[in-house]
């Protein structure tokens, strides 16, 4: 009796969360899907009509789409390479005994807590500005020509900024994983005369494999949606040089008021994100019972 009763109340307790998330997912998603088949521009109210796949055809054949797709991939892969390799190196370093470990750890983690608009604007103005930025000052001091980062290499600069924000995340997770490594195993290998590189390659790296996968998948989910950093630094330019998919869809829907086209882009973005999500969900699902 008691079990039945508690099962009932359990259902009741879980339902608000489930219903809200269901609504949050289904209502906007079905609207996006519906709009994507309409010719619908906010500047021409009352002219909406069904156009089938026209929006998709326009979106997917737009040269800006290919530029944005490429930029999205470059941004995700670029940041992943920097943060995963940097994160492994940093985690290995922070795992060593040294004085002031706690403080250094705090310093390294700090960028993760800086809001995206702040970190992007600080980097853009105080470091990368070709006249007043610190990098320009340093270049002049060395007798070099200052480099205009955000005009000459916009995507690479944004990759740099975003990497700075995400390096702490990768480091923290890899460090946590590294600290759960069985020390005796390492010591045994050391006593058997295995050099450091072999201990790293055959013991540490396999142990980290799972954490690295988690870092890659979770970061990919977030990096596909990088937005604020682009908005406040380059506005996607020059041209489409630093426009990613998220930014392209934003421009199409909220700046050009093309609801139909933006929605078609939204559907494409959802499909792309889902491909990554499936892998991530499998990883997490496997761990759920353990």
């Amino acid at each position: 009796m008691a079990t039945k009763h508690s099962r009932m109340s359990a259902r009741l307790m879980i339902s608000p969360a489930v219903l809200l998330l269901l609504g949050w997912m289904l209502i906007p998603l079905s609207m996006t899907l519906y709009f994507s088949f309409l010719r619908y521009n906010l500047l021409m109210p009352g002219m909406e009509e069904f156009t089938g796949l026209t929006n998709y055809r326009f979106f997917l054949t737009d040269p800006a789409f290919f530029a944005a797709l490429w930029n999205t991939i470059a941004l995700v892969v670029g940041v992943l390479v920097v943060t995963v390799i940097g994160g492994i190196l940093l985690a290995l370093l922070l795992d060593q005994p040294f004085f002031g470990q706690g403080i250094v750890r705090i310093l390294v983690i700090a960028p993760f807590f800086v809001m995206p608009t702040v970190s992007a604007l600080v980097w853009k103005n105080m470091f990368m500005n070709p006249v007043n930025g610190l990098f320009a000052h340093a270049a002049k001091a060395l007798g070099l020509q200052p480099f205009d980062f955000l005009s000459s290499a916009p995507l690479a600069s944004i990759i740099g900024i975003v990497s700075w924000q995400w390096l702490p995340f990768a480091t923290l997770i890899l460090l946590t994983a590294l600290q759960s490594l069985d020390q005796e195993q390492l010591e045994a290998a050391e006593m058997d005369g295995a050099p450091w590189i072999k201990r790293f390659w055959y013991i540490m790296l396999p142990h980290l494999a799972r954490a690295i996968t988690v870092v890659i998948l979770i970061q990919t989910i977030f990096l596909l949606s990088v937005f604020a950093e682009i908005l406040v630094t380059t506005n996607g330019g020059p041209g489409t040089a630093s426009t990613n998919l998220t930014y392209l869809i934003y421009m199409q829907s909220l700046l050009q008021f093309d609801v139909g086209g933006g929605s078609a882009g939204g559907v494409v973005a959802i499909i792309l994100a889902n491909i990554v999500a499936i892998f991530l969900m499998r990883m997490i699902g496997k761990n759920l019972d353990a």
Binding site: L29, M31, I106, F113, V122, H137, A141, Y250
Partner: protein
């Protein structure tokens, strides 16, 4: 047997680690320093490090010109409100999943997580139009709703992993002693769950405070939290580095402090328990 390391090696590691730590932290340090400079000193070449006339004028200017405090309070209300609302919805859900697991509990959890994988831009248009039609654009309540919904899966997950660690026998013992469901929750469960709930709250405030997709797209002047307010510095007039730094320092300081306290929970919360 503990690993013994020579003092020399430890010293070398110390120097190396500190150098890298300071380098990574440097942009934040530089922002804080610049916030106390005059605008002229902020762009001085060669740069001035500590030997400048320290001033707090920028902080006053930022407040005066753009009513900084209002945006700060918007951030507080939006991140605090969405966390509180999220907690109210998530605690019962996580509780029931952890202590009265059903066959489909795992599926429900995974499904909740999958909503988090939805790219926000995929639903930008409908949310924007719904907000426009409901009069929620540029309102704090609108942002509280959106941020509650996007962070709800993380709150449920984190609470679930914490609740899971509370031994079920304790609850059974309380039940045997005749405790009702209500008193079971209030007197047995809550005291044990408070640490986990505290770190969930902390992480969620951090995430909501720094959220910069919806806050930028759904607010204008009135309800803009700090993320959106700081973005207004992307089209500057005249010299503004010191003012930007002052506004930025105030925007990141509270979260930086909270973040440092929640390092450990961060890993669990952001990896959904996949790395502990």
């Amino acid at each position: 047997m503990a690993r013994s390391v020579s003092t020399r090696r430890k010293l070398i590691t110390t120097v190396f680690a500190w150098a890298i730590g300071i380098a990574i932290f440097f942009p934040i340090l530089w922002t804080i320093l610049t916030s106390f400079k005059t605008e002229a000193a902020a762009i001085a070449d060669p740069p001035v490090w500590f030997n400048f006339d320290w001033t707090v004028e920028n902080y006053a200017t930022v407040q005066e010109r753009s009513n900084y405090f209002r945006h700060f309070m918007n951030s507080v209300i939006i991140s605090g409100g969405s966390t509180l609302l999220g907690l109210i919805i998530a605690v019962p859900a996580a509780w029931s999943m952890a202590f009265v697991p059903a066959k489909r509990t795992k599926d429900v959890l995974m499904w909740m997580l999958s909503t988090k994988m939805l790219p926000p831009v995929g639903v930008l248009v409908p949310i924007y139009l719904l907000f426009r039609d409901l009069g929620l654009l540029d309102t704090r309540i609108g942002l509280v709703i959106v941020l509650t919904l996007i962070n709800l899966p993380i709150i449920v997950w984190m609470l679930y992993t914490y609740f899971k660690e509370i031994p079920g026998e304790i609850l059974e013992a309380a039940r045997m002693d005749g405790a009702s469901l209500r008193s079971e929750i209030i007197h047995v469960l809550t005291p044990m769950a408070i640490p986990g709930m505290a770190s969930t709250v902390l992480l969620n405030i951090i995430l909501a405070w720094n959220e910069a997709f919806w806050t930028l797209n759904l607010t204008a002047a009135k309800a803009a939290p700090l993320t959106a307010f700081i973005a207004s510095y992307s089209s500057p007039e005249g010299l503004f580095y010191a003012k930007l730094s002052a506004a930025s320092t105030m925007a990141i300081a509270p979260i930086l402090i909270m973040g440092w306290f929640s390092q450990k929970q961060l890993v669990r919360g952001l990896t959904f328990g996949a790395v502990k």
